[in-house]
């Protein structure tokens, strides 16, 4: 046992170092978009990262007054939103990255549930589910004309229609806008159906 002890300690140290170097494992339904840099000029850059603990705290707070909201929040593990203003320097890179993310998600078992391409807007929403149908995560990739790119990842049991509520409750504008997009596309589809 005494001879094994240095080996055990060494192995544990190596494992701990590897964990630190390689970083934490991604949650099921979590997507690593990579690091984004603010545009060089006066372009917009917003990054919101709401971790599990903060979501739990928020859920704990609203559970008395808004039990439905608390229930939705209880199912969440992470909310991550990136908004980057588009300019001549970063447009090509961001478009390329959005394309790569979409390709990776499609190939990684994610289901594309919303696709909107009109007037320079390019919206894609992906959903990751387990074999039993439980939702693990949601990703929204939006290229809003020449204005900005949005990369959003909500990890946990979340339905697309609840996304806007999350945006409203956490005051995350891009998610609220997704709600508008959804409404607009719904209206248009209704109009088309009526015609």
């Amino acid at each position: 046992m005494k001879r094994l002890l240095p080996w055990i300690v060494g192995t544990l140290t190596l494992c701990a170092s590897a964990t630190l170097v390689l970083g934490e494992e991604l949650l099921p339904g979590q997507v690593d978009f990579g690091a984004f840099s603010p545009p060089k000029g006066d372009g917009q850059f917003v990054e919101v990262n709401v971790p599990t603990d903060l979501i739990k705290l928020a859920s704990h707070f609203v559970e008395k007054d808004e039990p439905d909201v608390a229930k939705v929040l209880d199912g969440l593990k992470l909310v991550h939103v990136n908004v980057i203003g588009l300019d001549d320097q970063n447009r090509a890179d961001l478009e390329k990255r959005a394309k790569k993310i979409r390709t990776d998600l499609t190939g990684g078992g994610w289901e594309q549930i919303v696709t909107v391409q009109q007037k320079g807007q390019d919206v894609s929403i992906f959903l990751k589910t387990t074999g039993q149908g439980a939702i693990q995560g949601l990703v929204a990739v939006v290229l809003d004309g020449n204005e900005h790119a949005v990369f959003a990842n909500v990890v946990g049991d979340i339905k697309p229609e609840q996304l806007a509520m999350i945006g409203d409750k956490f005051d995350i504008d891009p998610l609220k806008k997704l709600h508008l997009h959804a409404e607009k596309s719904d209206d248009k589809s209704k109009d088309k159906a009526d015609q």
Binding site: P38, V46, V50, P51, L57, F61
Partner: protein, 230 residues
């Protein structure tokens, strides 16, 4: 040889060993002066040390009001490293738990409006530093500032919750990793507005603020409560 023997027998008796005295039942007589008690001696030493170190402690206490906390300092250093130039310190204040406890105690004698009272009840410590860049920065590349600040804060166990950069302004909010949902908050904020830099951190108990928010803002969005909390 004879004289040596005489001096041994009739000279001053050799001091008794403690064990010998104990065995023979010999001790100081009631009329002899009592020796100094060791506890009393220690007490005197402590009191003397306190008297002499009092000014030093007072000086350190006063200095601590002007020394920012460790995460705030790390955040300030990161931004200053990323935005080089001559930074002029305007204000640097650190108010700790002891001072705030005194203020809370003192405020108990006055009728305060609910907002400041809730803030006082919530806050357990805060520090803020204001700095100004003497000349406008040559470039507004805040990605370096965010990257350096993220790395520096990560080493201290903090992660960025919010980062906003737009039109010469940079705002970043950090919270400790593994925050527990026990109503304790701890956060660090940096605001860079063109030439002005503000770094601040606060720690305390969020319960009084939440109660006030619940009373005053029943229909307000969760964001105000979730993000205003730390």
């Amino acid at each position: 040889m004879q004289s040596a023997i005489i001096s041994t027998h009739f000279g001053a008796p050799p001091p008794l060993m403690a064990s010998d005295a104990a065995l023979r039942g010999v001790g100081p007589s009631p009329t002899s002066p009592t020796p100094n008690h060791p506890i009393r001696t220690c007490l005197l030493c402590v009191i003397t040390a306190l008297i002499f170190s009092g000014p030093l402690l007072f000086g350190l206490g006063v200095a601590s009001y002007f020394r920012l906390s460790s995460p705030t300092q790390a955040l300030r250093r990161s931004v200053m490293e990323a935005v080089p130039g001559e930074w002029d310190k305007r204000i640097g204040i650190n108010v700790g738990g002891f001072t705030l406890a005194l203020v809370r105690f003192g405020s108990g004698f006055f009728q305060l409006p609910p907002e400041p009272k809730a803030a006082l009840d919530a806050l357990r410590g805060a520090d803020v530093g204001l700095y100004r860049l003497e000349r406008p920065p040559s470039s507004r590349d805040y990605s370096a500032a965010l990257t350096i600040a993220d790395k520096s804060m990560m080493r201290q166990g903090w992660e960025r919750i919010v980062g906003v950069a737009q039109r010469g302004q940079l705002v970043a909010v950090y919270m400790p990793r593994g925050l527990r949902a026990d109503r304790r908050f701890n956060c660090c904020v940096v605001v860079l507005n063109d030439q002005d830099l503000i770094v601040a951190s606060g720690r305390g108990n969020v319960e009084p603020l939440l109660d006030l928010a619940r009373q005053r803002l029943p229909e307000h969005s969760l964001a105000a409560l979730a993000f205003a909390r730390p």
